[in-house]
């Protein structure tokens, strides 16, 4: 019965390949709900090994938009929340989902645009003035449109400008509904201005002839915070390991590791815990 033999052989080969091998049992791991900007910039790859070496706690990062990260954490699907939307984070703690919020680090947002600069905003420092001009000439502007920290910051800026940009959605104002990098890809493809965090921009590999056109306005400050998901609300939360990670991030060693992360000689994040 050669044919039977061949088939059972195939089946067992497939099974052998497919069955979950005994995964090297890590002593402990925590899940950190974080944002695309921290992952896309490469920060975690730099700092997590340092923490893991010290503590044997494996850190598993789920990188999604801040809005989704907060929702996931509210469902108890994560031990630590590490995002950048201070108001939403404080609401998260106030509603009892998180234990306490700590400042970790900051960087800033910048507006990048095409070299043709259709709105003539290059070199502007005043972000409100720049956005006003972009809206006036109806130059294409690509928005994240995904309820992320960057998206919330952008909406806040439009509010200050006093223009309902979303009313022009589909026209010159375009919501990509995706992460920072994806929005940069899409926005650059249509010659649009894009608000991005500086870290993602520096690390981004497909800049083409795009460059920073607006930077340096204090309104574009971007603060990151870290919160332990409340174990009283979600019993599956690994409070001890999660707290150990938070303690380390806020410690001198953790803060130094963040400061040390550079791409092409440029520091991406500026630690400011305890500030």
């Amino acid at each position: 019965m050669l044919r039977r033999h061949i088939f059972s052989l195939t089946a067992s080969a497939l099974l052998a390949l497919a069955l979950p091998g005994a995964t090297a049992a890590q002593d402990q791991f925590i899940v950190v709900q974080s944002t695309t900007s921290t992952q896309n910039s490469g920060l975690f790859e730099q700092i997590l090994p340092l923490f893991q070496d010290q503590t044997d706690i494996e850190v598993r990062v789920v990188a999604v938009g801040t809005g989704q990260a907060i929702k996931n954490a509210m469902n108890g699907d994560g031990d630590v929340l590490f995002v950048h939307a201070k108001a939403a984070e404080e609401a998260f703690v106030a509603e009892g989902h998180g234990v306490e919020r700590f400042d970790v680090m900051y960087n800033d947002f910048v507006i990048v645009g095409p070299p043709s600069d259709p709105a003539g905003v290059a070199g502007t420092r005043d972000v409100v003035a720049a956005l006003t001009k972009i809206a006036e000439v109806q130059a294409p502007f690509a928005s994240r449109g995904d309820d992320s920290g960057t998206h919330k910051a952008e909406l806040r800026l439009w509010k200050e400008v006093g223009i309902d940009a979303q009313a022009a959605s589909g026209g010159w104002y375009r919501e990509t509904g995706s992460g920072m990098g994806a929005t940069l890809n899409t926005g650059a493809g249509m010659g649009a201005y894009i608000l991005t965090d500086r870290a993602t921009w520096i690390a981004y590999g497909n800049k083409g002839d795009y460059q920073i056109v607006v930077e340096g306005d204090p309104k574009m400050f971007n603060q990151y915070g870290i919160i332990l998901v409340n174990p009283e609300k979600h019993p599956t939360v690994k409070a001890e390991a999660g707290q150990a990670f938070i303690d380390w991030v806020l410690s001198e060693a953790g803060q130094q590791a963040i400061a040390d992360y550079m791409i092409e000689g440029k520091q991406l994040f500026f630690p400011n815990a305890g500030g």
Partner: protein, 235 residues
């Protein structure tokens, strides 16, 4: 914007230079996808064969449902599985979210209807030829299903490959339930999505080519196996 050819040349170089991190990702992809396909076959083959071979009330409706489920959007499946496995979901206590097991569950849900619906078609055609013989031998339902599946095995290999194709190329579901966690749930497709969003288009394309290559190898192996089995049968 670099030209497609530039990207292609760079892509090939990257595949060669990135092998260690890559092998982990490739192995996980194959493990998850093949497990899902095997489970889908275990569920979908008998189900499809039953619907194909027997007449029963609601058969038409079941066929329509199976066919419709072939078009399930992966993101929707991902969301359903996420809500089920979430710590605040009904099966949260299992703590399967953000593990390979969660990705296997999601892909199984995607692939089973494909296997079942295509098996139904294959078996239905075959059953038309065999029905009288079955009746004259007085075979039980179970034996009939077994005989039909066995005799249709070569066509069913293609069915399994169709399921594999769906699972291996899928990104929406595994991204949501796996979380694309480095060294834990990072697969080929989620890496491609990640590298694209980092603007590393060359690397993303390189991975895409590799994925294509792996799909070709899997398909070629199954077809070679089939050919040798056919030869053995008729030798």
């Amino acid at each position: 914007m670099p030209s497609f050819l530039d990207i292609l040349t760079e892509a090939l170089g990257l595949i060669l230079s990135w092998e260690r991190a890559l092998s982990e990702i490739v192995i996980l992809s194959l493990r998850v996808t093949l497990t899902a396909v095997v489970i889908s076959c275990v569920l979908g083959l008998p189900l499809g064969a039953m619907v194909g071979a027997f007449r029963f009330p609601g058969r038409g409706l079941l066929t329509v449902i199976l066919n419709a489920l072939m078009g399930l959007p992966p993101v929707v499946v991902g969301l359903m599985v996420y809500l089920t496995l979430s710590a605040s979901g009904p099966m949260g206590a299992l703590q399967l979210l953000y593990t390979p097991a969660a990705m296997i569950i999601a892909q199984t849900i995607l692939v089973t209807p494909i296997v079942a619906a295509l098996t139904k078609q294959v078996v239905e055609d075959l059953h038309g030829e065999y029905a009288e013989q079955f009746a004259s031998f007085g075979l039980t339902a179970r034996d009939r299903i077994a005989a039909l599946l066995w005799d249709a095995r070569y066509s069913l290999l293609t069915v399994a490959l169709a399921g594999f194709g769906r699972a291996v190329a899928e990104v929406g579901a595994v991204l949501i339930v796996g979380g694309n966690i480095n060294h834990v749930t990072r697969m080929m497709t989620t890496t491609i999505a990640l590298e694209t969003s980092k603007g590393n288009l060359e690397l993303a394309l390189a991975l895409g080519l590799l994925l294509l290559g792996i799909a070709v190898i899997v398909n070629a192996s199954v077809m070679a196996l089939r050919a040798s089995a056919v030869r053995a049968t008729y030798a």
